[in-house]
Every structure is written in structure tokens, then in C-alpha cells.
């Protein structure tokens, strides 16, 4: 599988919910997610993100996140893993859904990245 999808949120239910939504459009794509801290609080955790990256079956990962600390923790994981992670600064729900839909039909990197560019946020 060329691409897998990673969802990182501050809230476990948001991460799970977005993954559920994307899975509907991308049943054959590996989607892993993590939300909140190890204690089950709202927030983000470097280690939980690391685990979600390891569990992902995609040769490359398309990563989506919600707020600031998810981004920073995701970047730290990006710097410490050998897996290729493409992080997108886009609207979480719409971005992940777009990526899932396009990955499901084996779209090219150009198609995926250009479609996501339209959903870019200043985040």
C-alpha cells in the first residue's frame, strides 16, 4: 500500500471519529489515529503518535492534526522516525477525508498534494 493515513487530535473521540469517517471513503487504506495523552486527558503525546506511526501499514504516511501541540509532537516524531511522513497544515476533517478518498483510488502524489493545498489553513 502506497499511502497510509494518520490522524492526530487533542481529543480521543475526535481522532477516532475522523478515522471512522475517512474509513468509509477509504476501506482499503491503513488509517491509524491517536488523540489525547497517555493518561486519557486532552492533549497530545509524542509516544502515542510514535505508536500510531509504527502501526500504520502505508509505505508513506499522510498525516493530519488539529491544534498546535499535535503539530509539534507530530514534527518531533517525524524527525525521529525512518518512515516518510507528509504532514499537512489543512483542515483536519476535510483534509483527511480528501486524502483518504484519493488514496483509495491510487491517486498520484501530485493529485493528492494539489487537492490538499486548497484546504490549507494558517496553523
Amino acid at each position: 500500500m502506497k499511502y497510509g493515513i494518520l490522524i492526530v487530535s487533542h481529543v480521543p473521540e475526535i481522532a477516532q471519529g475522523v478515522a471512522q469517517l475517512v474509513a468509509q471513503a477509504a476501506p482499503d487504506i491503513s488509517i491509524t489515529y491517536t488523540g489525547g495523552t497517555e493518561e486519557g486527558q486532552l492533549g497530545s503525546s509524542f509516544e502515542l503518535i510514535q505508536q500510531a506511526v509504527q502501526q500504520n501499514q502505508g509505505a508513506e504516511i499522510l498525516a493530519f492534526y488539529d491544534l498546535g501541540s499535535s503539530k509539534m509532537n507530530l514534527e518531533m516524531v517525524q524527525e525521529t522516525t525512518t518512515k516518510v511522513i507528509h504532514k499537512f497544515d489543512v483542515a483536519l476533517v476535510e483534509g483527511a477525508y480528501t486524502a483518504g478518498t484519493l488514496a483509495q483510488i491510487d491517486s498520484s502524489w501530485t493529485t493528492i498534494s494539489q487537492s490538499l493545498k486548497k484546504l490549507q489553513l494558517r496553523k
Binding site: T37, Q41, L42, G43, S44, S45, F46, E47, L67, G68, S69, M72, N73, E75, M76
Partner: protein, 194 residues
């Protein structure tokens, strides 16, 4: 001035104590303009730092700071985990690869925060303390009065990074919790130097 092993142990011990002492205050500041958990998050990190400090008293400073960095990254959570973690990791790397000049070490930490947080200064973040402190150290003007004035200078800034930025101009008049905890860190450094 050099950052010695004895200084580093003492500095980190003071930081652990003072973060614990100020937990409620940091939470209050964060409740006003963030998600209310900066004190709690930092204390969780400090518990781990405290364990590291008690495990061994004679680690190389670069190794000690590296361990502290990983403790903060994995335990603190929130934005301050990766930010403080990156700062300590960059300080460790500087000591490992360059030298032990205190001003340069702190500057390396400040640059780590700049990169991780994608800030340039003036966004009402902890970088607004780290950057001027690094400059003060460079110019031998690192003292409590200057440190306090750096913190006060953030008070009326409008936050444009981090959770407080969602408040826009309503963030003015509040102290940034990360700037406050960084001020605690450098107040402790001053105490060690004196």
C-alpha cells in the same frame, strides 16, 4: 562563563522545586488564555526530571540535558513538552558538539524553540523570554531586573501563536504561562550564578 556540571544539577533542582511551588499560578495563567493545564503538565515533567537528578550526580552535562529533554517530551504533553524538550535537546547538542559557553548554550535552546514553535519574537510566547535572555547573557547584562522587564514586556502583546492566539486581542493584559515558566527557569539560573 561556562555551564558546569555542578551548576546544571543545582539549576535543575531549583527548577523542579519552583515549578512545583508555582503549579497553581501557572494553571491560573493558562486558564485565562489557554487550556488551563500548564502548571499540571510541567509538574508531571518535573517529577520525571527529579528522578533523573536523583539517579546519578555525576553525569556529563550534555547527557543530563538530553535525558531531561526526553523526560519533558514524553511526560509534559501540551505544547510545552515539545518546546521545552527541543530547547533542552538543542542545549545538549550544543554542549556535545561545540563548547560549554553558557550564553551560547542558552542561545542554542532559544533557537530550538524558535524552530519548533515557528516564532520570530513578539508572538507572546516563551521565546520572548528565551531570546532576550540569550542576548543578555551574551552582553553580560543578565540580571533579575532585565529578566522581569522581559516578562512584563509580553503582558500587553497580542498572542499570535499557540492556544492564546484564538483569543486575539483579548489575550492582551494576560501573562503567557510559558513565558512565566521560562522566567522561573531563568530566575533559578540567576540564583545559581549568584
Amino acid at each position: 562563563m561556562k555551564l558546569t556540571q555542578a551548576m546544571t544539577y543545582k539549576w535543575l533542582q531549583l527548577f523542579v522545586q519552583d515549578i512545583q511551588k508555582n503549579q497553581a499560578h501557572l494553571n491560573e495563567l493558562d486558564t485565562a488564555i489557554g487550556d488551563g493545564d500548564h502548571g499540571t503538565n510541567m509538574v508531571r515533567g518535573m517529577e520525571q526530571v527529579s528522578k533523573i537528578l536523583s539517579q546519578s550526580q555525576d553525569q556529563k552535562v550534555s547527557d543530563l540535558l538530553k535525558q531531561v529533554a526526553f523526560a519533558l517530551i514524553s511526560k509534559v504533553g501540551g505544547a510545552s513538552g515539545p518546546l521545552y524538550g527541543t530547547a533542552f535537546l538543542e542545549m545538549s547538542k550544543y554542549l556535545q558538539n561545540q563548547d560549554d559557553d553558557l550564553a551560547s548554550v542558552i542561545n542554542a535552546g532559544a533557537l530550538g524553540i524558535k524552530r519548533r514553535g515557528q516564532v520570530n519574537g513578539g508572538e507572546k510566547t516563551m521565546y520572548d523570554i528565551w531570546q532576550p535572555v540569550a542576548a543578555d547573557l551574551q552582553q553580560q547584562q543578565f540580571n533579575q531586573a532585565n529578566l522581569d522587564s522581559h516578562l512584563q514586556a509580553t503582558l500587553n502583546l497580542e498572542a499570535t501563536k499557540g492556544r492564546a492566539s484564538y483569543l486575539g486581542e483579548r489575550s492582551q493584559g494576560h501573562l503567557d504561562p510559558g513565558a512565566q515558566s521560562s522566567t522561573i527557569l531563568f530566575t533559578d539560573l540567576l540564583q545559581v550564578l549568584n
